[in-house]
């Protein structure tokens, strides 16, 4: 009796030790995963902050000769990423113009049609689209737009690739947000004799606004840093270009160009830092909206 008791005592200690060890290992691993983030931020800020002056925002990227001369004379490389900033604004803006209305309407359609073959098929396809690698969408936009429509690389083609990329997340977040809204709100509006489409646009959408807007902003932040599809579509441009049928630069494209040009390589840090800042600000904005616009029902 005593012996078995002491054995189980020992076993208990062993079990408790195991439990402690496991939680320590788990917590350490979890926080170690965040180290790369700190390392990346440290690297970008340390090497990039010097480049960020006003000129960096209003001047276009220098060509390789200018940069070389500056380097030889031990000066700061002149120029900035204005062409990339304008290009990103245009390409991402146009992608949003294409994706947001279609995504919203499709999200409404799915949330209002819980059953049915057609809706099931659309859901299946949206799931599938969500997993398509961005580079494949670049190939698609090349074949759909670059060759036949703009007969050459263009900002428009880049926007099409990015819009397909952000569609699934807009559709899904809209659908899920609207489904969470209690059906009694919809009934209340309908019982007042409000037509169906007005009920959706004036009652359901405003009520779900925070969730939908959050989904859209997160979608934008996801495509803002995309490089691969733009290499196949927008290509890049050394000047600021407002014509959407012409090649255009974008901040991630500039990072890629600087990376490949030994004379310009010092500029990658500033450009990456700005890109990261934009994306983080979008993420923060999404969180703030989710909190602030949240509707109590």
């Amino acid at each position: 009796m005593n012996i078995s008791n002491s054995i189980s005592q020992q076993k208990l200690k062993w079990r408790i030790f195991n439990d402690r060890l496991f939680s320590i290992v788990m917590m350490s691993l979890a926080f170690i995963s965040a180290l790369p983030l700190l390392s990346i931020l440290y690297q970008l800020i340390k090497k990039g902050y010097k480049q960020i002056r006003l000129n960096f925002f209003i001047e276009v990227a220098p060509d390789t000769m200018e940069a070389m001369m500056a380097k030889v004379n031990h000066e700061i490389i002149p120029g900035g990423i204005a062409n990339g900033i304008v290009g990103t604004l245009i390409i991402v803006g146009m992608a949003s113009l294409i994706a947001i209305p279609l995504g919203l309407i499709c999200g409404i359609y799915l949330s209002e049609t819980s059953k049915g073959k057609m809706a099931g098929l659309v859901r299946f396809v949206v799931d599938m689209l969500q997993g398509v690698p961005s580079i494949v969408l670049g190939v698609i936009a090349y074949i759909w737009i670059v060759k036949p429509v703009t007969s050459g690389f263009s900002a428009l083609a880049g926007s099409v690739a990015l819009s397909i990329m952000m569609l699934p997340s807009i559709i899904r977040s809209t659908e899920e947000t609207l489904k969470m809204i209690p059906s009694t709100l919809k009934e209340a509006a309908l019982s007042l004799g409000v037509p169906y489409h007005r009920t959706i646009f004036k009652v359901l959408l405003p009520t779900g606004m925070s969730g939908i807007a959050t989904g859209i902003i997160l979608g934008i932040s996801r495509i803002a840093g995309e490089t691969a599809p733009l290499m196949l579509t927008a290509l890049g441009s050394s000047a600021i270009n407002l014509d959407i049928t012409q090649p255009s630069s974008a901040i991630p494209l500039l990072v890629w160009e600087f990376y490949n040009d030994p004379n310009l390589i010092d500029l990658i840090w500033g450009a990456s830092l700005i890109l990261l800042l934009i994306i983080f600000l979008l993420n923060l904005g999404a969180k703030a909206i989710a909190k602030k616009w949240k509707v109590q029902y």
């Binding site: 009694t184 009934e187 209340a188 509006a189 019982s191 007042l192 004799g193 409000v194 007005r198 509707v295």
Partner: protein, 268 residues
């Protein structure tokens, strides 16, 4: 309807004449051959409170929703029989138009969460895109809130969101919202089931006051409530309208043994 005959012999005639809503052999199904309510016939009296009682699943909510065609929101519903409002077949009217004549209040208070108290009251106008002058809006808001006894409590916070009110106040706001469009009939689907006893008593008092101007149909599974405030009662069981008559009479001398069993608390 404008009859002035008051002697007892003519009571029956008056009753027939003041039937505002006539339900005739109405059956409603949510799909397939199974009917949730089966061949229900009843004449609803103008400016009275009619309570629909019965154990859960008896079809009382379905009947209520058939009256303003809210049951059609489910895709596969179909019905037989007819309902007439003032002599006109409601299934031949546009449901949108119909629902403005027949207001509805739900189990849980459901003010529109994005709207202020003020906007909630005139929601029917806002959402239907009907433009009103500022003075008209003010008048409707004040009249409707006074009707539900919410004016004094909310007149200083009209532009705050309706969801900040207590549950009972929210429910009165929802009644005000239904009244703003001056409907003929108000349908209430267990309007006090989510409220505490004090808020419930307030709503009950309110309904008794409101019947002067409106015809009220109330689904409840609280027998005491039906006894306290209703003039007529229906008892439904398994989709069938078992008994319909004056509340006092039904509660004292029920005709059907199922009604009696229910009233004695034997089921539901």
């Amino acid at each position: 309807m404008e009859s002035t005959i008051l002697n007892k012999e003519d009571e029956k005639i008056i009753q027939i004449e003041s039937t505002i809503l006539n339900i005739d052999e109405l059956s409603v199904s949510y799909g397939g051959d199974k009917y949730s309510i089966d061949k229900v016939s009843a004449g609803i009296q103008k400016n009275k409170i009619t309570a629909i009682m019965g154990p859960s699943g008896c079809g009382k909510s379905t009947l209520l929703r058939a009256i303003n065609r809210m049951h059609e929101l489910y895709p596969e519903t179909h019905h037989k029989g007819s309902i007439t409002l003032g002599g006109e077949d409601i299934y031949k009217i546009n449901p949108i138009q119909l629902r403005r004549k027949i207001g509805m209040v739900f189990q849980r208070p459901n003010p529109f969460p994005t709207m202020s108290i003020y906007d909630n009251v005139i929601a029917a106008y806002i959402l239907n895109g009907i433009k009103l002058k500022r003075s008209e809006k003010n008048e409707i808001v004040e009249r409707s809130l006074r009707e539900v006894g919410l004016w004094d409590e909310t007149k200083d916070v009209l532009h705050k969101r309706g969801t900040f009110l207590s549950g009972g106040q929210q429910q009165r706001l929802c009644i005000a919202r239904a009244l703003a469009y001056k409907p003929e009939v108000i349908l209430l689907d267990e309007p006090t089931s989510a409220l505490d006893p004090i808020a419930t008593a307030k709503i009950e008092d309110l309904l008794v006051k409101l019947k002067k101007n409106y015809t009220i149909i109330l689904v409840t599974h609280n027998m005491g409530q039906a006894a306290r405030i209703s003039d007529y009662s229906m008892f439904m069981y398994l989709g069938e309208l078992v008994e319909y008559g004056k509340t006092k009479k039904m509660f004292t001398t029920p005709k059907d043994e199922r009604t009696e069993a229910y009233l004695m608390g034997k089921f539901g």
